[in-house]
Symmetry: C4
Subunit: 202 residues, 4 copies
């Protein structure tokens, strides 16, 4: 119990910092560039790519944290492979402030394809991180409570597989139709939050 408490604390720290650093990517318009009140309103409105990217990534990290939280609820020990798989998963969370800033910078330009492709590819890597973590629950030694309901593990597996498919698909799609790829990302986000809120397993 004590051991996992500390893995949770470290993971919570990384999730909390990554989700809060997202805001640093939204830059205040410098006052030298502003010459009227409507100028400032327009500048703030032109920041919509930043707001969109912020909200999308905030939601994704929040859903990840909720899943992480429920997963750890049914564990009471850990193994070194599990620790490193968890570290790899945290790596995929840590890079989100970068991919989010890249998306915000290019979403309203003609060069949006690489930004969307990389953002979706980040999702592929994140899904791989979840797969790896779920794998280490059984090998090299089982980490689950003996009396655990597998419904929750299965629900995380399903949402990981759905994510993997959507992210691989949208990574490819981004090379031709980046905006459609992005809309599919947003829909995945809405599906995930809806499924997650309505999940039976508290």
């Amino acid at each position: 119990m004590k051991e996992n408490a500390r893995i949770e604390a470290f993971s919570d720290g990384v999730f909390a910092i990554a989700i809060t650093l997202l805001i640093l990517e939204i830059k205040v318009p410098p006052h030298e560039t502003i010459h009227s009140v409507s100028d400032l309103w327009n500048s703030l409105i032109r920041l919509w790519p930043s707001y969109f990217a912020f909200l999308l990534s905030f939601g994704i990290i929040l859903v990840s944290w909720v899943n992480h939280h429920y997963l750890f609820n049914v564990l009471d020990k850990s193994s070194r492979p599990f620790l490193y798989a968890n570290g790899f998963l945290l790596l995929t969370i840590t890079v989100m402030p970068f991919s989010t800033a890249l998306l915000a910078e290019y979403i309203a330009t003609d060069y949006v394809k690489p930004a969307v492709a990389l953002y979706c590819f980040g999702g592929v890597i994140n899904s791989m991180g979840w797969n790896l973590l779920l794998h280490t629950l059984y090998k090299p030694k089982p980490l689950l409570h003996s009396h655990v309901s597998f419904e929750m593990i299965d629900s995380i597996k399903r949402s990981t597989q759905l994510g993997m498919i959507v992210y691989i698909g949208t990574t490819v799609l981004a090379f031709w139709f980046p905006i459609i790829a992005l809309v599919l990302n947003l829909m995945l986000w809405i599906v995930w939050i809806t499924l997650s809120i309505n999940a039976k397993t508290d």
Copy 2:
């Protein structure tokens, strides 16, 4: 107990990071622009909008954390809707470094109205987050201790409603009298801290 401990840890992380990131918005005057000791004093004094915005937001986040802390003291379980409502509340805290930096950048300019209006609007959203969170305490399943004193929940409700009214009013007022709107924000802050320090419920 264990479950809520982790929600608290994640929330504490977000509160602690948001409150500490505020300081990054206060920029040291670059030494190339300084040509005498009194130059530096003047530059430091001209940073007063940053100090003011920093102190205002620090106080607001601190009061939010204190309320959050007392609320979680009377809970011993959680639900998924509660987790997401808490996530939404944290979102409204996370954006404060941005709205604070915006306020600091424009408070001493002629273009202060949008900055104050958005700052107050952030308060409206934050009040909505609190309302949503309080709502999820009862539905879909009750989360409060059976023997809880409702005095504390009522006190948070009242301070949320007061905040909601003041923030809606000042958001509108900011379009005509931004400085008065800001002074009302400051007064709300003082009222909140005073009420909170004198509250009976420890």
Copy 3:
């Protein structure tokens, strides 16, 4: 116990973030300004004010955290005034990345006086925060374990009083002899760490 655990978690978060943000103030020399290996060595050596300010502030925050840690060990409840006094103390820690960056920017210039004076004044405010916090241990209600040894509280009081005297003195001194004021700060830091390591109360 549970209540104070969360105050500790929030405080630990703020201490940990403030101490880690210090490093952001040390800027990597941009590669456009470098034209040889010895250029880079020289640029890195010319960053000594940043290294000095980083180490000084890292040590001060670390000593503060150690004292905070030992203080909370002898408490088992809290009060709202205590929470806000703790919040004020954390405010004085949170501003350190700013005062540290200011010190680093001006220590090697002719305009060092305001930077040293403000840095020392930050110490005065920090000492006042400690005084306030120690005050709320007894009023409005006693928070200490009944069987607590007062030796530790007395040791924190003494080191706070020593700090208050040195910081008030050096704040004034900085207007005439900033470097001497800074050396006295460094000596206070060495005295504190030495006293703290040799303290009897674990």
Copy 4:
């Protein structure tokens, strides 16, 4: 137990923040410099020094945290010298965002030697921090559980000694063959993670 829980929380905070701040060093190419999709792809590819430095440092901090985690599992008390030795170890973690950014900035230039030398020297200091910490486990008072298996302490000692030797060697080597020094660092990282994953002590 309670006392060490808080040292762990503070340390976890510093590890989590340092590991997450690494991402801030990877800068999004500004859209003004980009004139075609392939321009953006090329810019993103030219960021490879940043990706490399990020991954190297992420891995090093993760291995450090895993070792720290296992070490604290076998302790149940602390001493002031131990607290300060731990603070010094955290200092060597805190500086990594700087040395990582320095490495990323210069790895693809002709002036890479100082960057690699300092990066390796950071490893020397980190090894010294571990040595100091391990020393305070026995003096001034023993901190280990009475029934502890020394295998784990020995394993940390060995990996610290290996690190010390490699880091001292590569610090010197960096003055002549910086790239070879860097490759040796990477190999140390792979050896450490492999050894750590296969370690018997969970």
